[in-house]
Symmetry: C2
Subunit: 144 residues, 2 copies
Amino acid sequence: MNKDLMTLKPIGYVREGKIVLNPKWAKGLKGIEGFSHILALFWMDRAHKPDMLIQPKSRMKFPAIGFLATRTAHRPNPIGFTVLKLLKHKGNTLWVKGLDVWDGTPVLDVKPYTKREEAKSYRIPPWVKKLDKLETDPLRRYGS
Amino acid sequence: MNKDLMTLKPIGYVREGKIVLNPKWAKGLKGIEGFSHILALFWMDRAHKPDMLIQPKSRMKFPAIGFLATRTAHRPNPIGFTVLKLLKHKGNTLWVKGLDVWDGTPVLDVKPYTKREEAKSYRIPPWVKKLDKLETDPLRRYGS
């Protein structure tokens, strides 16, 4: 594979909160129901070019931070990443909990969630905790 | 952004176990040192086309599983994903622990690790645990 030609193709799309793969990849999901959680990668097709620095919630007095230290969708490669609880798998469809992307969003990859993803005693900065207290949508909280 | 044209550009490369971004993105890392762990996305440029079903370790008697239920690099979109402990950040360079990719691998994205990635009481299938017992490289264990 040529590293100068990095082109993606969707393996499926988000449909009504479910992950619906192209039927040709259905067989590649065999056994995924053995895992309680999955990682899903999306192409955030509504994203725009990144702003280098971001002021978390404009009305607050946090120092501006770099976009790579945030989870904004507006990045050089707008790949969204989410950990999802897998509720059900049938054919080319995955029923999941916690999906927070637009309907029709292209799906790039699905991977099983394993021990590798579990960071023991990790640390997040105070501004994340403060912002979470203001966030009313639990799906949009990062560190609470 | 056009969803029919999903083209990636590296924001940096893996150099001697470190993540070295293009200097133009250095400012975008501001504040990342507030997080103890990061997520990194890579373009697995040595990957080949996926095999639909995979026999975990050929000599063993596990049922074949779909490639999407494994962490093989050989996927329609060969995007590697890793959780890394962040040891140090200076300029455009991130010193990390636990990086298990080839030197020169293109880096697609860096994101902070947050509570969202922590799946409480997750479940992995028996074959993952059995394989891990045979794996001598701790970086390659999934569920032990």
